[in-house]
């Protein structure tokens, strides 16, 4: 059952979005999110929705996957919506008992929900079209200047890579330990929360012991393969920004300005 978890969900493909440099994609998403938060206009959000829909289309990723990424957020979305609806002061449209719904409240609620949905959809598009390793590389390269002020950027990226590498191994191991405990009569399904938590102890203890042993062996193996930190290290696949990537960044810059000044533009044009 644990095998079904797909972490860092990545759907390999050959679309334009897949082929863009991960750094360009990462920066684009940051720009997109920033403009989402700056913009307050209906037209701006309209543009964002259109753009995202176009991205999803050309990426070849099923819109269902995007909906799926939103699923865990439904409760938060409802909560945000309701809070904003009732607690924004303004022109009262309806009231019952101590609650009142205001026009401004409805607008803010709609904006908030739309904003979160767009935010999640955009970041999912990034992880769906970029392999975790490429993403880690991109983060390492983008944060490179921080090395000057002694931020351990390389170590952080290496940790991410190794974590990604060992997630499937540890999941498999958890599965094995669970089967072993079940075979000895352990019960993980029935009982209250406390019982269930208690049943996890005999899984977690051997899992941790084995993880530490693995870490130890891996460290030795890495040293045997001449690992000595990020200094002087080269890469097999160096990230290269092509004209296409710069074009995409330029496009995103223009797009952000459009989103932010959408209202003003529309009023000038109409």
């Amino acid at each position: 059952m644990l095998r079904d978890i797909t972490l860092g969900q990545f759907f390999p493909g050959t679309s334009l979005l897949h082929r863009l440099d991960p750094r360009a994609k990462l920066v684009s998403v940051v720009l997109f999110v920033a403009s989402l938060f700056i913009s307050k206009s209906f037209w701006g959000y309209g543009l964002c929705i259109l753009f995202l829909a176009w991205c999803i289309r050309i990426s070849g990723i099923s819109p269902k996957m995007i909906l799926k990424s939103l699923k865990p957020l439904v409760i938060i979305l409802c909560f945000t919506g309701i809070l904003n609806m009732f607690y924004t002061p303004g022109e009262v449209l309806a009231r019952f008992w101590i609650f009142k719904i205001t026009r401004e409240g409805i607008y803010t609620a709609a904006y908030m929900i739309l904003r979160i949905v767009l935010l999640i959809a955009a970041t999912s598009m990034l992880t769906y079209t970029t392999s975790p390793i490429a993403l880690t590389d991109a983060i390492e390269r983008l944060l490179n200047p921080l090395k000057k002020i002694h931020v351990p950027v390389h170590e952080f990226a290496m940790m991410m890579t190794i974590a990604l590498r060992f997630i499937p191994t540890l999941i498999e191991e958890t599965d094995k330990i669970m089967s072993a405990q079940k075979a000895r009569g352990a019960d993980f399904e029935t009982g209250g929360i406390i019982d269930k938590a208690k049943a996890l102890v005999p899984i977690l203890v051997p899992l941790f012991v084995s993880a530490f042993r693995r870490a130890d062996e891996l460290a030795t193996a890495m040293e045997c393969r001449l690992y000595h930190g990020g200094e002087g290290r080269t890469r097999l696949n160096t990230l290269v920004m092509t004209g296409r990537d710069y074009a995409a960044l330029g496009f995103m810059g223009v797009f952000c300005l459009l989103v932010i000044y959408a209202e003003r533009l529309v009023s000038i044009l109409l």
Partner: protein
Amino acid sequence: MEARAILSAEGLTFRYPTEEGHEEHAALDAVNIAVEKGEFVAVLGHNGSGKSTFAKHLNAILLPTGGAVYIDNMDTRDENLLLAIRETCGMVFQNPDNQIVATVVEEDVAFAPENMGIAPAEIRERVDRCLEIVGMSDFKRHAPHLLSGGQKQRIAIAGVLAMEPSILVMDEPTAMLDPSGRREVMHTIGQLNREKGITVVLITHHMDEAAQAGRVIVMSDGKVAMEGTPEAVFARVDEIRDLALLPPQTVDLLHRLNKAGYDLPLDTLSVEACADVLETFLRQ
């Protein structure tokens, strides 16, 4: 200075550090082993006889408490030579899962050359060449955790080969593999030794694997107990038994016959050779 073998342990002694008051016996006790360039040496020995401890001295994971180890004339105690020693003497361990660093096969093989600071174009060349040697070229872009044990171990070997070491030390590389995985890995090791001239030190519990080597060293309680060609070593059946090891089945069979009063040669390691001996014997 007289010429040293490419791998040379001279009076090598090692005690694991223990809590105070404990008088620890030596895990390695004045071991003298020399391996010449291009040799294929198998190291046997019962559990706890010091095989892994010995292996860890060969690329300075452990440093001798007495005596010295020289790899291609480099003293492992010299810290400045650490990277050069590890580059010369590659090490493969038992569990392939705990040696693979990256999430894509080719990136894992590239790990060592990346650490050496080699230019990307040459890394690419080395990765392709090493995957070719271990016969895993078709799996370049695969995720290692989806491969079989034997395939994973071959990736681990390729990852070490990418340093272009002249010595390959392997600590029970087949212990976690099924029979077909073991065959794959042993085939690869033999090929590396014969065709690429790589010096191989193979630590193993399997007599049939040791039989493929040019020389066998049997360790016991941190000392070298026996040494010689596989044929010569395995023929000393009683001594092998005393060292808590099982001789190969072929030798064991002939040995039993000899005990029953016959006089058969014991230097037959393959099943075919054993069958030949029996055939000529029965025809007489």
